[in-house]
């Protein structure tokens, strides 16, 4: 009888050790993929110089990639499934609008301020939900953006249903592109580092065995609060950026798109890899732009893709690609 066996490629074994840099082939094997992503992301706006419409799509892709990173971190490293990513986006967007329109801060102050204060506010608001796990946390976070929308509508504050208009737009198109691209890359590689630091390991411990973390004398809730802070930091940046990109902050910042598309990206790209979140948004968001004419039918397509991936290929593209990159398969006799 024959069966398939999966073993590491030779170059993988050779580069795994300390003496990785022995030949150009090995160097390329190690730094090739990340270099391709970084250089690719940086020259993309120049490459698309002749397609102004698609140049704008880059920004949206990167924004969704950042939100997807925040979802991936919270769901697959902390174990908190947050169905309300739009809440962070909305908070960030509204805060930057308040800073910029009401308090007349310039753009380069209002975005960072909105990011930090938004992360603090989101964390404080999510505090009550932190002792919860699994389904309960998902349900409560699903409520948060809806609650925010209803409160804004009912109280008619912050522009009510019209939103706050007249935010300063970013100085020029290149600042607009490179700001979000560079921040995305920083978040991506920063998070990849962070989850392997001491702090990151403890946070991952919260997901796998919170009783063990507690037994080690570390407060689980504090750790979760910190994780939510990190995650909402990214979400709020995305929101502040979007508000400035469109010069407008309204209740559609709390809309479903900002919750569901990042989740779909993470599932498609591969949960728990962080790179997968970015890859997923680079695939999904352009598809969404192509389907713009179909209106809400886009969401249907997303959901079908999402369900298909969850059921049939739950590991996601990134995990699959990494396996193909590092290993090969062959038939052996049993």
């Amino acid at each position: 009888m024959m069966r398939k066996e999966r073993i590491d490629r030779g170059v993988r074994v050779r580069t795994a050790g300390l003496y990785a840099i022995a030949s150009w082939q090995e160097i390329l094997y190690l730094v090739g993929p990340p270099l391709f992503l970084i250089v690719g992301a940086i020259i993309l706006p120049i490459l698309l110089e002749f397609a102004p419409y698609w140049k704008r799509v880059i920004n949206i892709v990167c924004v969704y990639a950042i939100i997807a990173l925040s979802f991936d971190f919270l769901a697959n490293f902390v174990g908190l499934v947050c169905l309300g990513g739009a809440f962070f986006v909305g908070i960030g967007g509204y805060l930057s609008a308040i800073f910029n329109v009401y308090l007349h801060f310039p753009v380069y102050l209002s975005i960072p301020l909105a990011t930090i204060s938004g992360a603090v506010i989101s964390t404080v608001l999510l505090m009550p939900a932190l002792p919860l796990r699994g389904v309960y946390f998902a349900i409560v976070t699903l409520m948060y953006p809806l609650l925010a929308t209803r409160v804004i509508e009912a109280l008619n504050i912050m522009g009510g249903t019209n939103g706050i208009i007249g935010l300063d737009s970013l100085p020029n198109a290149y600042v607009e592109h490179y700001m979000v691209i560079i921040v995305m890359l920083i978040f991506l590689y920063g998070m990849r580092r962070f989850v392997n630091q001491d702090m990151g390991l403890v946070i991952r411990g919260v997901k796998d065995n919170d009783q063990a973390v507690r037994a080690s004398g570390i407060s689980v809730t504090k750790m979760k609060a910190f994780a939510v802070f990190v995650s909402s930091f990214m979400g709020c940046f995305a929101g502040a950026y979007i508000a400035h990109m469109y010069s407008w902050a309204g209740i559609s910042l709390f809309a479903l798109d900002f919750s569901i598309i990042p989740i779909a990206s993470v599932v498609i790209g591969g949960g728990g890899t962080l790179l997968g979140a970015v890859l997923g948004s680079f695939i999904l968001v352009p598809i969404s732009e192509l389907l713009r004419n179909f209106g809400t039918f886009r969401i249907v397509i997303y959901c079908v893709i999402l369900t298909g991936f969850i059921v049939f290929k739950s590991e996601g593209i990134m995990v699959y690609a990494m396996r193909k990159y590092h290993q090969f398969e062959r038939w052996v006799k049993v």
């Binding site: 389904v135 349900i139 609650l147 989740i263």
Partner: protein, 289 residues
Amino acid sequence: MEIIVYGVINSVILSLMALGFTLVYSIARMPNFAHGALYITTGYLAWLFMNSFMSLPYPVAVVLAIGITAAIGALIYRFVMIRIRGMEISEIIATYAIGLAILEGLRWGGLRGMTFTLPPFIAGSTTILGVSVDYQRLVIVGIGLATFAALYLFTHFNRVGLALRGIAQDERAAMMLGIDSDMTAIISLALGSGLAGLAAILLLPLGNIIVEVGYNVLIFAIAVSVIGGLGSWAGTILASFIIGFAQILTEAFLSSHYQMVVALLAIIITLLIKPSGIFGKQKELEERV
């Protein structure tokens, strides 16, 4: 007086919305986020059968619509959920995605505006305790109470119903006694979807069939189930009375804008004080750290 009468009616409405969701969670341990979508689907199907190509009589259309919704529920379990059972994150995302796909698909298919309405059972109104109430609301209360009673009888005096309860209480022991876990899950999802459909047929005549109602129903169902303790039926009914009266009171003294805010705040407060809900004692330890 008005507050009491409408409070009772509102509470029964809420518990009807939540019953299917709770049933599925208590038996299959699966949060069915597609609940609201199934609710709207039934309404739309009933409208379709009555008005467009077939123009069936009302009772036939209604029974057919509920039956199809129950079948959809069973199919969702058989072809999607069965593969990811037990993986909480995937369960949540998959049911949520299915629900969104149905709702947004209906919206894309033209389900908006005021054209889609279901007729009430009996038109007209009467006065009870000096408050005028239309017959449809009385029918809702009557059928709602009948449904509770029927469910109680079904789960206490019927082989299948007892099997469902067995799985809900202790899955492994029930499986040892020869109860098929997947089969009960399929039945529970079909039953839950059917209950969502029944609620839709009863409640939709009070308004229009629009997609937003689907989201609202999902939220109310979740609110009631969480406050009552996920999976506890007595808790569900008690919680729907609490929220039902709270909503009527806010409507009377504040404005109807706050109805949803009340439900959402109630969830957050409940989770703060007693995360497992009013009647959810056994899960308290495993859900809270």
